[in-house]
């Protein structure tokens, strides 16, 4: 933080939860950063949330316990919150407001960036089109991720989303460029997560030697909610610096956005704002957009910011405002399923409601494989039919089904067991595609409307020798 512009003493009138109300004796502006030094000697960070002629409302980012009104000094910085970043960011651990908590020295600052970021002009964006291999068939083959995309994981309590996030962080690569790992960086932001999850991430990344190219931002469940609102913004500021200044390809993992939205609701309620759906503020869509929209590529710059936010759907309800608004902003979603998880399939990704909107630009001829789009489309069509057939079978029984319908049922099971399920082994896209073709072979030809005759001839009849499915 730069030097204070103005100092106010004895101006605090009221403190309530994370909010501090000051008399307006100074010329300060909205959203600017302040530091509050209590009579107990501790210094707390805050920002100006509302202003009128007579008073200033400050939102405290640190715990307000112990803060007294008398003897409180407030320092105003005259500018929005900034994060000072510079080389040496990688490998460090920060709290939610960008202070090192790994016991290391303060960061050698090169420049201070506004934590709120600035919207990228649509015309300055490079349309994302580089296929990013994650090692998961359900993502690579069915819902491909591309660089610069924001693809959230819609999860639920008790599902292995942390594991999946770590696997993506460790296995993600651009096919054909294995030596590119040096330019690859991970920014991980834990938002309101329990200490155990934070430790899990740190350990797993350390095990795979990825920690050296990772920046961690940890806002634990016990930290203040106002800080929770800033954790993703500090993390994204670091990511933008790594991507657009240092030219790295950055994968940002934000977990758990549900905690972020809860904090947003809490802070909004304490400000006395009119609530919208389920008590969340009416501006939640715009607010979430200021986080998610920071993914992308900029024309003429080397790096990219790819986001994999994780959110747990309250009560597994995809129509809850948090996943609903997220789905309207992000470029698709990957939905985890409790049923698949119970059957011990990993990753338990439910492909039908999952979607990658940018997939079309990243796959196909010249990018992945010419037949990739048709294969994915056929698998989707057949699996969705298989699901309908399952419903039918649960009513009339399997014996009441026609021959073709029974084949569909078998296909549905095989698809889950051999394409979705892969255990701990990462697959290359070639292996994923081979697994996909293999399960299609059992289907009657009349079902294969999304494939042309050449694709059927080449992949499903005859020349199957070199493309055996992986065990």
């Amino acid at each position: 933080m730069t030097y204070a512009r103005l100092v106010g003493e004895e101006i605090a009138n009221r403190a309530e939860g994370p909010l501090l109300f000051l008399s307006r004796s100074l010329d300060v502006g909205l959203n600017e950063a302040v530091e509050v030094e209590g009579s107990d000697g501790s210094v707390r960070l805050g920002r100006i949330a509302a202003l009128d002629q007579h008073s200033i409302t400050v939102e405290m980012l640190d715990d307000t316990a112990g803060l007294a009104l008398a003897g409180t000094r407030v320092r105003f910085f005259g500018e929005p919150l900034r994060f000072q970043v510079g080389p040496g960011l990688l490998g460090r651990v920060f709290n939610g407001i960008g202070r090192p908590i790994d016991g290391g020295p303060p960061l050698a600052a090169e420049q201070a960036y506004r934590v709120d970021g600035l919207p990228i002009k649509p015309s300055a964006r490079e349309a994302p089109s580089e296929f990013l291999e994650t090692g998961f068939t359900a993502i690579d083959l069915m819902n491909s991720l591309v660089r610069g995309q924001k693809l959230p994981l819609f999860s639920g309590g008790g599902l292995p989303h942390d594991r999946i996030a770590v696997d993506i962080a460790c296995n993600a690569r651009l096919p054909g460029k294995p030596e590119e790992t040096e330019e690859f960086a991970i920014v991980f932001a834990g938002i309101g997560i329990p200490h155990d999850s934070a430790e899990f991430f740190r350990e797993e990344l350390e095990k795979s030697a990825a920690l050296a190219r990772t920046v961690l931002f940890l806002n634990l469940a016990s930290d203040s909610s106002a800080q929770r609102l800033l954790a993703p913004r500090f993390a994204l500021t670091a990511a933008e610096y790594l991507a657009f200044v240092e030219g790295k390809h950055v994968l940002v993992i934000l977990t758990d956005l549900t905690n972020y939205c809860e904090a947003l609701r809490e802070v909004s309620a304490s400000r006395g704002e009119v609530p919208s759906r389920k008590g969340y503020p009416g501006y939640m869509y715009s607010d979430l957009a200021t986080i998610y929209e920071r993914a992308g590529r900029i024309r003429g710059l080397a790096g990219s910011v790819t986001q994999v936010p994780i959110l747990t759907m309250p009560n597994d309800d995809i129509t809850h405002p948090i996943p609903d608004l997220t789905g309207y902003i992000t470029e698709g979603q990957v939905v985890l399923d409790r049923d698949l998880h119970r059957r011990d399939l990993y990753p338990p990704i439910r492909v039908l409601p999952s979607l990658s909107r940018l997939m079309k630009d990243g796959i196909g001829k010249g990018r992945t494989h010419a037949d990739h789009p048709a294969l994915a489309a056929q698998l989707y069509a057949s699996y969705s039919q298989a699901q309908q057939t399952r419903v039918l079978a649960s009513v009339v029984g399997e014996d009441g089904l026609s021959e073709d319908d029974r084949k569909l049922l078998v296909f549905g099971d095989e698809f889950e067991q051999r394409v979705i399920h892969q255990g701990v082994e990462a697959r290359t896209l070639e292996e994923s595609m081979a697994a996909g073709w293999a399960v299609l072979r059992g289907l009657p030809r009349g079902e294969l409307h999304r494939l042309d005759d050449r694709q059927i001839r080449e992949h499903l009849l005859g020349e199957r020798s070199q493309r055996e499915p992986p065990r």
Binding site: L30, D52, I120, P122, A127, G332, R357, Q385, L392
Partner: protein
């Protein structure tokens, strides 16, 4: 000009104490950065201003300066093929990748002007004074602005290159005033531009999408809405229509949507060629971009900016189509500002005037005779993003009251990657009857009949599917199985159309008509077969069925021979099956075909 001192700020709304008169909807600038705003409420000693930019750093005391003009945009020929923010300020400048507060309007451009009037001619408002060549793209006209009284030409510039804000024509008004006309002129965004008359529409706005053009068409000057939950393909559908529809100018308003998608659209528009002119599609497009992370209130203005731009091109006698993606984000911006003003909330927190605002917007769509006596049209298509995909929410229900065509998107179709995921039973078109004559005129005489047939079959399919779920498909009588088979063909071959397939991303009316006719023949043939006792499965297992299923994907535009070969194959197959059945061996034939 009046000024005012700010006394209160909350998000994009501020209140100020004025020292002079302000008008409602007047444009104002705030502070040293000259942030743009609009007066939305006035009281004797206080004005309320809605700001169109990020308000960080604003403080009480900051000066608000009036402009004495309603919130206006500058319309001119250089708008075409460019990208702007919600207030028509260019965001195409590559030197700075970020949107920052205090952006400026487009700098004057130099364009070639050729006059078409002479000194002494009497001109009415809205009449063309000459042609403008804007480098690339379609030729445009320079009109006498509709808000001028018109008059006699006292001087006119010779053909040549002029700056677009420079006077090129001087008029003497009837009251003796001297008026000047430049290539650009200002127009308040919330005021519809005047026309001579609104006309009935009997011509379709062709989208190249079969399910729209044939089943749920929209007329030129009509309106359409696309409601759908997230992931159902609203944006892709709108983008596809933007690329392939037969409008002269496209205005694409990205209102509170994704930056990456707009970047993708821009890249595609630059690469793709207009199939009719052979020029890049971008040359006929204006993009108004207000992504979800750009200031919220500019989202509210972007819709009006878009439609004003559309009307400007309409007044030159063009057919314009405007896409707004998404009107729900616009409604949310209304809600946010209304909440900050402390207005009494209506349904779901939206202000009570939501319905009338939506009506104002959709009412600006029309096919008209312009002031200059030409025929032009503005067609409006709006996406609606209902929360949780629930169509009973206020924005969807109110929109339904005002639009002529509704294309309801279905989650289940989208999950099976069946695009466009328009559900035939949740969609309608009020324009269909007025377009029958147009289809007749291009030679598709059975359009109306086949359209009804398809819709009845789809309706019946929905009913039978429910039954099939209980008793199983095989237990159903042959006639019902045939309905399901025909509906499958209509769905998979005709209604499904991949936006990413080179052959099938758009279909000309002739190709649509041919496909429609072929499916019609199949249905009739299969029914005849059923009468002589051939079950639907026997037909399904013929090669022709797969060929029909894939004709959209495999037969490119203009390959009429392939279509007629398909027609012959169909006739031959049907004849063979009938003969076999007459020979009393229908069952055997069916069995032997199954095994292939």
């Amino acid at each position: 000009m009046s000024t005012a001192a700010t006394i209160w700020i909350s998000g994009p709304v501020l209140r100020a104490r004025p020292d002079g008169p302000f008008r409602l909807r007047e444009a104002v600038t705030v502070g040293e950065q000259s942030l743009l705003g609009e007066v939305i409420r006035i009281a004797r000693d206080e004005i309320t201003v809605q700001l169109y930019e990020d308000t960080s750093g604003l403080r009480p005391g900051v000066q608000v300066t009036g402009s004495d003009q309603l919130l206006s945009i500058r319309l001119g020929p250089a708008i075409l093929s460019r990208i702007f923010d919600g207030l028509l300020r260019p965001v195409g400048d590559p030197s700075d990748p970020y949107v920052k507060p205090g952006m400026q309007v487009q700098a004057p451009q130099r364009l070639w002007f050729t006059p078409s009037v002479r000194v002494g001619e009497l001109l009415n408002p809205g009449v063309a004074i000459g042609e403008i060549a804007s480098g690339a793209g379609i030729p445009q006209r320079c009109l006498v602005p509709p808000d001028l009284p018109g008059g006699r030409v006292s001087a006119i510039a010779e053909a040549g290159e002029y700056s677009d804000d420079q006077a090129i024509c001087w008029l003497e008004a009837p009251d003796g005033r001297r008026l000047t006309v430049a290539m650009t002129h200002g127009w308040p965004v919330r005021v519809p531009r005047p026309v001579q008359a609104r006309l009935a529409s009997d011509e379709p706005m062709l989208t190249g999408q079969r399910i729209i053009d044939c089943l749920f068409p929209v007329a030129r000057g009509g309106t359409g809405a696309i409601p759908g939950g997230f992931g159902t393909g609203k944006t892709v559908l709108l983008e596809t229509v933007a690329k392939w529809c037969n409008a002269d100018v496209i205005v694409y308003v990205g209102c509170g949507e994704r930056g990456n998608e707009l970047a993708g659209l821009l890249a595609e528009l630059t690469e793709l060629e207009d199939p009719r002119s052979g020029r890049p599609l971008l040359e006929r497009t204006v993009v108004i971009a207000n992504t979800s992370n750009m200031p919220v209130s500019a989202r509210e203005a972007s819709i009006y900016t878009g439609i004003t731009v559309a009307e400007y091109f309409r007044d030159q006698g063009m057919n314009v189509t405007l896409m707004a993606d998404s009107t729900s984000r616009w409604a949310e911006a209304l809600r946010e500002v209304s909440g900050r003003l402390g207005e009494l909330p209506g349904e779901a927190g939206y202000p009570a005037y939501l319905s009338s605002r939506l009506a104002d917007f959709y009412e600006r769509a029309a096919r008209v005779r312009t002031l200059g006596g030409e025929i032009g049209s503005v067609t409006l298509l709006g996406a609606v993003s209902p929360p949780s995909g629930d169509f009973s929410e206020p924005v969807t229900t109110h929109t339904k009251r005002y639009v002529g065509s509704l294309w309801g998107l279905d989650v289940r179709r989208a999950q099976a990657r069946f695009y466009p995921a328009i559900h035939p039973l949740q969609s309608y078109s009020l324009a269909a009857d007025s377009l029958v004559r147009w289809w007749h005129a291009i030679g598709c005489t059975r359009w109306q009949e086949l359209r009804r047939r398809f819709l009845t079959l789809l309706e019946e399919e929905a009913r039978l599917e429910r039954m099939a779920r209980i008793i199983g498909r095989d237990a159903m009588p042959a006639r019902q199985r045939l309905v399901l088979l025909c509906a499958q063909l209509i769905n998979q071959c005709f209604l499904r159309q991949s936006a990413f397939s080179t052959n099938d991303r758009y279909a000309t009316p002739s190709r649509q008509a041919v496909m429609m006719r072929l499916i019609g023949s199949f249905i009739e043939g299969a029914e005849r077969l059923l009468e002589v006792g051939v079950p639907p499965e026997a037909i399904r297992d013929q090669a022709i069925f797969r060929h029909l299923m894939r004709m959209g994907e495999e037969i490119p535009e203009g390959d009429w021979e392939a279509f007629s070969a398909l027609d012959q194959e169909l006739t031959a197959t049907l004849r063979r099956l009938i003969n076999q059945s007459r020979a009393g061996s229908a069952e055997d034939a069916g069995a032997s075909e199954v095994s292939t």
